[in-house]
Amino acid sequence: MAATVSSASGLLAMLNEHHPLLKLHALSNLNAFVDHFWPEISTSVPVIESLYEDEEFDQRQLAALLVSKVFYYLGELNDSLSYALGAGPLFDVSEDSDYVHTLLAKAVDEYTVLKPKESSQESEKVDPRLEAIVERLLDKCILDGKYQQAMGIAVECHRLDKIEEAIIKSDNVHTTLSYCINISHAFVNPREYRREVLQLLVKIYQKLPSPDYLSICQCLMFLDEPEGVAKILEKLLRSENKDDALLAFQIAFDLVENERQAFLLNVRDLLSDPKPRPSDVPSGQDSSTGNAAPADVDMTVEAPAAVGNVLDPSEMTYSERLTRVRGILSGETSIQLTLQFLYSHNRSDLLILKTIKQSVEMRNSVCHSATIYANAIMHAGTTVDTFLRENLDWLSRATNWAKFSATAGLGVIHRGHLQQGRSLMAPYLPQSGATSGGSPYSEGGALYALGLIHANHGEGIKQFLRDSLRSTTTEVIQHGACLGLGLAALGTADEEIYDEVKNVLYSDSAVAGEAAGISMGLLMVGSASEKASEMLAYAHDTQHEKIIRGLALGIALTVYGREEQADTLIEQMTRDQDPILRYGGMYALALAYRGTSNNKAIRQLLHFAVSDVSDDVRRTAVLALGFVLYSEPEQTPRIVSLLSESYNPHVRYGAALAVGISCAGTGLSEAISLLEPLTSDVVDFVRQGALISMAMVMVQTSEASDSRVGTFRRQLEKIILDKHEDTMSKMGAILASGILDAGGRNVTIKLLSKTKHDKVTAVVGLAVFTQFWYWYPLIYFISLAFSPTAFIGLNYDLKVPKFDFLSLAKPSLFEYPRPTTPPAATSTVKLPTAVLSTSAKAKARAKKEAEKAAIAEKMSAEETSSGAASSGKGKTVAEKEGESMQVDSASEKKPEPEPTFEILTNPARVVPAQEKYIRFLEDSRYTPVKLAQSGFVLLKDLRPSEPEVLSLTDTPSSMVSPAAGGSATAAQQSQASSMVVDEEPQPPQPFECSL
C-alpha cells in the first residue's frame, strides 16, 4: 500500500516557486531523497546553486548541503567539498554515511596539504571553515576514544595543539605516547617538523606523574639535547631507590646502542660530579641506600672519592653510580661485555677457512686476500686469531697492499679490545725511531687496524693516531692513519683533527688523499657543516680520480640523516659534470634519507638509476635505494625487482647490493628469491655482489628456518672449489662465507636499534663498505655494522649473573649451523651423505640430552642455583661436538620429537628472529627493568640476600691461551671447553708474522 515517489521532478519544480516556504519545503525534501534522485537533481544544480548564492534566502546552507551531495554523487569531490564547507553546521561530521566519510577524508587531505604550507609561507590562509570541519572531526575522534586516529590526523595536519589534546585525554597516555613516537619516526617527514613533534612529546612526558624516562631519553637523543638526558640521568642516579639507578643504567645502554658518539660524550660530560655536602645530610637516611652502599663495596671507588672529602652516604652512592653510568655512556662497558660474549660464544668454523685456503690458487692474490678478509670478518670481535697463527707462512705471501689489509684485519678480529688494542698492534706500528725496518704497508695497516678496534670510541687512541699521522710522509701510512682517525673520531666533528687530515688532502697525493677524503667525511658525519662545500671545491680542483672519489663519499657522509637540509648539496652534486661527483651525490641521497623511505628520494634515485650516462652512477643509485629503504626491508625486493632484471650488469649489481643492505640479517624470503637467480648471473661481478648480498641477508638464519641457507652454503663451497670459476665471483664467494659466519656466528648486520632509530656507525660502515668495488681494504668497514645477537642481563653492579630464561621455539630453528666435517678422504660427492647421517644421530642424541637437561632444569629451578643445570648443558654441547667428529654410517635410533622450547642461560645468543619467543621464567630470581628480548638488559634482583653466581666475570681465571691448537678439531674442542669455563679473553701472545 505504501506508495513511494518515483521522480523528484515535482520537488524540483517546486524550487522555482516564488514563496520561500515552498522552496524550503522542496529543498529539505530533496535533501532527504538525494540519495535516490541525484541524477534528476543534477540537472537542476544551477537552480540550487543560485539559491545558495542568493543572499536573501535564509536557507542557503541547506542548498549548499544539497549541492554538495549531488556533486559527491557525480564524483566531483572538490566542488562537493567546497559546498559542504558552505553548508556550515549542517554538514554533520558524525553522520555515518558514505558521503560524510568520503568528504571528511577529502577535507582532511585538503587540510593536510594546505596547513603545512600556511606555516612556511604566508601565501594562503587555510579556509577557516575547512579548519573548523577538521577540528570538529578531531574533537569527535577524541570524544569517541579513537585517539590513534585523532593523533594521526593531527600529526599529518601539523596541529601540535591537537596532538597534545589527544594524548592527554587518552585513557592510556603511555601507549598513546609510544604510538605517537612510532608514527613520528615512520611518517613525519620534514625533519624540522618531526623535531617539533618530539619536543612536544617530551613536554607531555615530563608532565606525566610517572614519566617513561626510557622514551624521553630516546626523544631527547633525537633532538640532540644532551642537557635534558643528563638531567634525567642525574635525577635517577640521585634517587634513593635502587631501581631508579637500574633504570638509569638501562637508559644509558639504550642510548649507547644508537652509537651517536658526540652526543654520548656530551651527556657524559654534563653529568655533574658529586659535591661534598657535609652539612645538609638528612638525619633520617633511608635504610635502603644504606643497604645498597655496602653491597657494592667491591666496586672500585674512583676519582670522586679520591678527592678525600668526607662524602655523605647518598653522595657516595651517587658517585659510585655515576662512575658506572659514565662507563656505560663512554661505550666501554658494552664493548667489554660484547667482547667477552663474542669470545666465549665463538663458534666459528675453522674448517671452512681451511677449505678455502686449500682451494685457492697460490698465485691468485685477490683470492688470497679475500681469504684473509673472510677470516677477519668471521672472527670479528672475537679476538680469536688462531687461523692466522696457524698459517703464518701462507700469510706472509701477502705483499704491498695485501699486507696492508692483512694487518688491518687484526683490527677487525680484535675490534673492541680497547685496553689491549695498542699493545696488540705494537709490533706493526710505525716506530718513533724512524726507519724500523717495518714495511710502510703493515704500518699503515696497523694504524687502520687501531681505528677499527676503536671505531666510534676513539677517545683513548685519537692522540696516538694524530701523532702518527703528523710524523709520517709516506702516503701508505698516511692512508692508514687517515682511515684510522676517521674511524676513531667518527662523528665527533673535531676541528683540529679535521685540519690535520685536510693537510694530508692538500698534499694532493692520490693514495693518501682518497683516505683523507673519506676520513673527513667520517669525522663530520651528519654535521652538515660548510666543510662540505670546501671539500666539493677541492674535488673540482684536483686531478686525481681517487681523491675525488674519496671526497665525494666524504661529502655524502657529512649530510648523514639531514634529509631536506641536504637537498641543496645533493642537487649540486647530482648535477655535476663529473660522474664521480654524481656518484657521490647518490651516496648523499642514500645517507641523508637513510631509512626514511622518503618517496622523493626514492623517485630521484630511480630516475638516476635509469637515466644517468655513467654506469657507476647508475649502479650506485640502485644501491642507494637499499639505504633509503632499510627501515622497511619488505619493500626493497619489490622496488628493485625490475632493476634486477636489467640488461645492464651494473644495475643488476646495484639491485643485488640494495637488497643485501636493506634486508641485511632479516633472512627475508622475497629477498632470497630475488638474489638466487643473480648468484648465477652471466657477469662475474654481478655474481660477486649477489653472493655477498645473499650472505648479508642470510646471516644467522639457520637451515631449519630456511632450507635455502643450506643450499647457499653448498653453492659457496662449490664456487670456491671450482677451478674454472672467475676470480671475481670466487672472491665474492669467499667473502660471503666470511659474512655468513661473521663474528663467530654471533653477530648480525643491524642498521636499526631496538627503538627503531638508525645506528649511525652501522649505516656509515655499510656505506663505506660498498666502496670496496674500488678499494678492497674498505671491506673491513662492514665490521662496523655487526652487532652481537645476545641477551646479556646485568645486575646492579653491571655484572652478568647466571640465570635462565625460556625460548619458546624449537631449538633447531635458531641453533648454530653444524660445523663442517673434514672430508673423509673419499670423493667430495659422498660428502653430503656423510654429513647427514652423522648429524642425524648427533642431533637425536643432543635432543635427548637437551631434554634431560631441560627437565632437570625445571625441577631444580626452584631451590638450586642454576649453575648445575648450565654445566649439564655445557656437557651436552661438548658431547655434541665430540659426536659430530665421528663419522657414523647408520643411525639406529629413531629421532625423538624435538622439544618445543629451550632453556637459555644468561648471557645467551638470541638471534633477531628468536626474540619474539623469549620469555622469562615466572619464579626467576631476576626481572628485567624494561621488557626487552635482546641486548643489554638491566635486571632487578628479587632475592638480593642470596649469593649471586656470575658468568663472564672480568677477573682472569686462568692463563689458558686459546691459540696454538694443533688441528682444527683440537681448536674446536678447546673452544668448546673454554665456553664452559667462561673465562675472560686473554690478550693473545703477541706474534709477528714476517709481513
Binding site: 506508495a3 519544480a13 516557486e17 531523497f33 637515466s611 625490475l642
Partner: protein
C-alpha cells in the same frame, strides 16, 4: 475532517471561485497560500506518510494542482504550467493504488504533451509518451497530441495548423495558437538550410504569412541576420570554412624523440 483540511478546502473553494471569474491575481495569491498549506500535509508526495486523512488530503491536493495547471493555461504562463504540472505528476504516477483516477488526468497529460510540442522539446515529448499505457494512448486528448506530433515530424504543417479546429478541450486552444509559431520557426530553420535566398513572395507563402508586412516584422523580430534586398530574402549562411587539418609535425617529432629517449632508458 480536521481543521487544516477544512481550511484548505475553504481556501480551495475561494480559489476556484476566483479562477472561474478570471480574477487571476487573487487566484494566484490564493494558490500560493494553498501550496504552502499543503507542505504541511505529510501524506503528500514525496513523504507519503500514513495518516487517517491521507485519502482526502491527497485528493484535495491533486484537485488543487489540477486547477493550478488550468489556471496557468488561462494566464498563458508556460513556466507556471510546467511547475504546477510537475508537482501534480506524482499524484498521477505514484498514487494509483490509493486514489481513484482523476477525470482531469488525460486532458492535463495531453496539455503537457502539447506544451512540449510547442516548445519543440521532442525528446521529452517521447519520454512522456513512453510512460503512458496503451489504453491511455486511445484517449482523444492524448491521441490528438500524438497525431499532431506525427504531422509535425512529417512536415505536414498544414495539417498541424488545421488541427486547431478539432481540439478536444477548450484549454488546448492556447497551445494550438502557439504551435503555429513553432511550425513557422521550424520552416524558417529549414529554409535557411535549404536555400541561399527566396523571393519575398515565396518566403511569405512558405512561412504562411498573409501579408509582406507580417513577414518583415517576423524577420526583424526573430531573424535579424536575414537580409532583404532586391525583392528577395537572403539567408546568411554561417559559412564555416572548415580549417584544413594541419599535421602537427612539431608535436610528432617531439613525441618520437621522447620515445627514442625512453627506449634508451629501458633498463
Amino acid at each position: 475532517m480536521d481543521a487544516k483540511l477544512t481550511e484548505v478546502a475553504q481556501l480551495f473553494e475561494r480559489f476556484k471561485a476566483a479562477s472561474i471569474r478570471n480574477d487571476f491575481d487573487s487566484a494566484a495569491n490564493l494558490l500560493s497560500q494553498l501550496k504552502v498549506l499543503l507542505t504541511e500535509f505529510k501524506s503528500l508526495p514525496p513523504l507519503f506518510e500514513e495518516s487517517p486523512n491521507a485519502i482526502q488530503e491527497l485528493t484535495i491536493a491533486r484537485d488543487i494542482y489540477e486547477h493550478a495547471v488550468v489556471l496557468s493555461v488561462k494566464t498563458e504562463d508556460q513556466d507556471a504550467f510546467e511547475r504546477d504540472f510537475f508537482q501534480l505528476k506524482p499524484y498521477y504516477t505514484d498514487t494509483g493504488s490509493r486514489l481513484p483516477p482523476s477525470p482531469q488526468e488525460y486532458p492535463i497529460l495531453g496539455l503537457n504533451l502539447l506544451r512540449l510540442l510547442v516548445q519543440n522539446r521532442i525528446a521529452e515529448f517521447h519520454t512522456e509518451l513512453e510512460l503512458l499505457s496503451s489504453s491511455a494512448l486511445e484517449n482523444p486528448c492524448i491521441k490528438h497530441a500524438v497525431e499532431l506530433e506525427q504531422s509535425f515530424m512529417e512536415g505536414a504543417y498544414n495539417r498541424v495548423l488545421s488541427a486547431r479546429r478539432t481540439v478536444p478541450h477548450e484549454t488546448y486552444v492556447y497551445f494550438m495558437d502557439l504551435l503555429a509559431k513553432t511550425v513557422r520557426d521550424e520552416i524558417a530553420g529549414c529554409s535557411e538550410k535549404a536555400y541561399d535566398y527566396l523571393s519575398i513572395n515565396n518566403a511569405r507563402q512558405m512561412l504562411m504569412f498573409s501579408t509582406d508586412k507580417e513577414l518583415y516584422e517576423y524577420i526583424s523580430e526573430d531573424h535579424p541576420e536575414w537580409e532583404v534586398k532586391n525583392g528577395s530574402v537572403f539567408f546568411q549562411k554561417v559559412k564555416e570554412s572548415a580549417p584544413s587539418k594541419e599535421i602537427p609535425s612539431l608535436q610528432l617529432i617531439n613525441q618520437t624523440l621522447s620515445y627514442a629517449r625512453e627506449l634508451e632508458r629501458i633498463v
